[in-house]
């Protein structure tokens, strides 16, 4: 009987999640142009075959891996360091904890615009400081060079996202019993040993959940790239979700865009399964 109590939730989930997913899957099998809906035709796996031959897809896919691993990895490291520092006792800790959340609280479009101006070739503060310090001899067009553009955007997103890890890990750190550290100190453990043998194992679950969630978000994020370079110069900052968006939005090729989005979804499914398993384990315990 209690199973039926879940029915409304299941129906709502089906309505807002499963139906759009099914629609996307159906669209991916059609040659559907938004401005020519009457001539939509079923092409089976035709869109996927075209994707396999699409140079821009492969460029976007490889850059997506750099994007996800670089951004999530560095956000995690920075967040971990910030959390460890904020877990220490110092007189302005309350203020520091509030300040660290600011980047996370800002909208992505604002982050994109802010960093675009910081990187600006003529007027940007980054070139200005680097020139004054003598680190560079001439301004660098950070966002117009294919060798720097992707990393420049990644830096902006790392800055925006590290507070998520900092706050999540800090919450985890505060659940570690003080007795563990006291015992470790009595046993003569150094600070480094305490970190690796006490702290990290104690918050492993928190870290894993945060990493899984953030991987999904970063893999899907495209707003900062769209604002900062629009995917350029050339295809230098194209990632898979951005490419899917451009094909669906600019080209209005909803069928092709849906097929690209479906491939991204399938790739993220492994991460989603891991996340759901962890969440289910949490419920069982």
């Amino acid at each position: 009987m209690p199973f039926w109590f879940l029915l409304p939730a299941i129906l709502i989930t089906a309505g807002v999640v499963l139906v759009p997913v099914a629609q996307t899957a159906w669209l991916s099998l059609q040659d559907y142009l938004l401005y020519d809906p009457d001539n939509a035709r079923f092409v089976g796996l035709g869109n996927f075959a075209r994707i396999a031959r699409d140079e821009v897809f492969w460029i976007s896919l490889s850059q997506s891996f750099v994007w996800i691993t670089g951004v999530v990895g560095l956000q995690f490291l920075l967040g971990l360091v910030a959390a460890l520092l904020l877990n220490q006792s110092f007189w302005w800790r309350g203020l520091a904890r509030s300040l660290v959340i600011i980047p996370w609280a800002l909208p992505s479009v604002i982050i994109g615009l802010m960093w675009t101006w910081m990187y600006d070739f003529n007027l940007g503060i980054i070139n200005d400081i680097a020139l004054r310090l003598g680190l560079i001899a001439a301004p660098i067009a950070w966002l117009a060079r294919p060798d720097t553009a992707l990393y420049a955007i990644m830096l902006a997103l790392i800055w925006q996202g590290f507070p998520f890890f900092a706050v999540t890990i800090l919450a985890g750190l505060q659940t570690v019993p003080a007795e563990l550290y006291e015992a470790a100190e009595i046993d003569g453990a150094t600070a480094r040993q305490q970190l690796f043998y006490v702290t990290l194992p104690a918050i492993a679950d928190v870290i894993a959940t945060a990493l899984l969630l953030r991987t999904i978000w970063v893999a899907n994020s495209l707003d900062v790239i769209l604002v900062m370079t629009g995917g350029g110069p050339g295809y230098a900052t194209h990632t898979l979700p951005l490419y899917a968006f451009l094909r669906a939005s600019s080209s209005m090729e909803f069928g092709y865009g849906a097929a690209l989005a479906l491939i991204l979804t399938a790739m993220l499914l492994a991460v989603v399964v891991l996340y759901v398993r962890r969440a289910a384990r949490g419920i069982e315990t």
């Binding site: 070739f121 301004p139 966002l143 294919p146 629009g230 350029g232 110069p233 050339g234 939005s249 209005m252």
Partner: protein
């Protein structure tokens, strides 16, 4: 009255009710027609409320529901509009661009409005060449012109005078001037390789002989013109290093900051630039190609009445109202573009005269992009990606032209 006569009269009256009822229906039962209009202004603080109130006072039977839609570089507005029309929830009329016309026609979203335009008194107040530019591919009129801008060349008067140069009239004048003005921290030309940059490419490549007709991007003249344009960056080095991704904001700010000596834009940025550079800046039409022909982008904004509208005539009335002299001036105060009505343009004082003159002088060779459903994708995706790769030396300029040719003609 006899009983029988009364019954006859009553019966006759009862039978006549269905015929007379429509005429007898009181006027109060007729609700006001509502016109939904989508628009976008760069400055979201500007509101058309004043115009709406004036129109509603002049047309008591019509209510205008003006809905501001985010522009998002054009893509957001366009996608939302098409999606709303496909979903059957589109507005009655909306601000539109010429480059979208072919897509609208493909989805049969527009119906000709020639009959309504013919009966509109303000028709003759709009120049014939603008009506011609606004025509659909089949010669019918689907759009009602609203405002326009024409791309011209901004140049630093003071720097040109110091260097003993005249404003460039030909491509070679332009390249020589750009080279002469390029110094350590100043570039001769603020080239726009990012979003919307086709309007910098057009004057030199379309003006140099390329066309959107089949094979038009691959003719010798077209390929040579594109190589020449790419060489401004790769060989002549007269543009800033950031040019491949520079967009509107970057080219205007660099010009204002004295980092570039020339750039291409329209009257919409004139007041902002004059605010910083005052008399140091002026404008001329973009340079002409070797054969004397020129090409510059006609930046349009029109209103379209959609075929599904149940208030077609009321929607047209509202659009016509906005294109009528006095109202057109008020609207253009909000948008910063030029009024479409000739009588309004005559006494236009919202921009310095030299920029309005440069716009007018450019009109004879101003053109829009092809009336093709593939044009918006060319603007947003094909041109920037290939142009940027060519400017960075990742592909040859001819490869870029092949990509454009393939996009339009397969």
């Amino acid at each position: 009255m006899e009983r029988r006569t009364f019954i006859k009269l009553a019966g006759a009256s009862a039978l006549s009710i269905p015929l007379t009822a429509p005429l007898a229906r009181p006027a109060i039962a007729q609700g006001a027609t509502t016109v939904r209009w989508w628009y976008h202004f760069d400055n979201p603080q500007h509101s058309p409320a004043e115009l709406v109130a004036k129109f509603e006072a002049e047309n008591p039977g019509i209510k205008v529901q003006a809905e501001s839609i985010p522009w998002g570089g054009g893509n957001d507005y366009q996608t939302r509009l098409f999606a709303a029309l496909v979903a059957g929830n589109g507005p009655d009329c909306a601000m539109v661009r010429l480059s979208w016309a072919a897509r609208f026609q493909q989805m049969k979203a527009l119906a000709p409005i020639d009959d309504l335009i013919a009966g509109w008194a303000g028709r003759s107040d709009i120049a014939d060449n603008i009506w011609k530019l606004n025509k659909g591919a089949d010669g019918k009129q689907y759009y009602l012109p609203l405002q326009y801008v024409v791309l011209y060349l901004y140049y630093r008067q003071d720097l040109f005078e110091q260097a003993g140069l005249k404003p460039p009239a030909t491509f070679e004048d332009f390249r020589s001037a750009a080279k002469a003005l390029t110094k350590a921290d100043v570039s001769g030309f603020g080239l726009r390789g990012g979003s919307g940059g086709f309007d910098h490419w057009g004057p030199f490549v379309l003006g140099g002989g390329a066309s959107f007709d089949k094979g038009g991007m691959l003719s010798e003249k077209a390929l040579a013109a594109n190589r020449w344009f790419v060489d401004l960056t790769l060989k002549d080095k007269v543009v800033p290093a950031s040019a491949p991704t520079d967009s509107f904001r970057q080219i205007v700010d660099s010009f204002k900051a004295g980092r570039t000596a020339m750039t291409i834009h329209h009257v919409g940025s004139a007041n902002e630039i004059v605010g910083v550079l005052a008399d140091k800046v002026s404008a001329v039409p973009v340079p002409r190609g070797p054969d004397g022909k020129g090409w510059t982008y006609f930046g349009d904004e029109s209103n379209a009445v959609f075929a599904v509208s149940k208030a077609r005539e009321a929607a047209f009335k509202w659009c016509a109202f906005l294109s009528t002299a006095e109202n057109n001036v008020v609207l253009n105060k909000f948008t910063g573009q030029l009024p479409i009505a000739s009588s309004a343009a005559k006494d236009w004082t919202l921009h310095p005269k030299r920029f309005v003159d440069a716009s007018a002088a450019s009109l004879p060779f101003a053109a829009s992009l092809p009336d093709s459903p593939k044009t918006p994708d060319f603007i947003a995706r094909i041109w920037p990606a290939n142009m940027q790769r060519a400017l960075l030396g990742q592909i040859q300029p001819d490869e870029m032209m092949r990509a454009i040719e393939q996009h339009f003609h397969g």
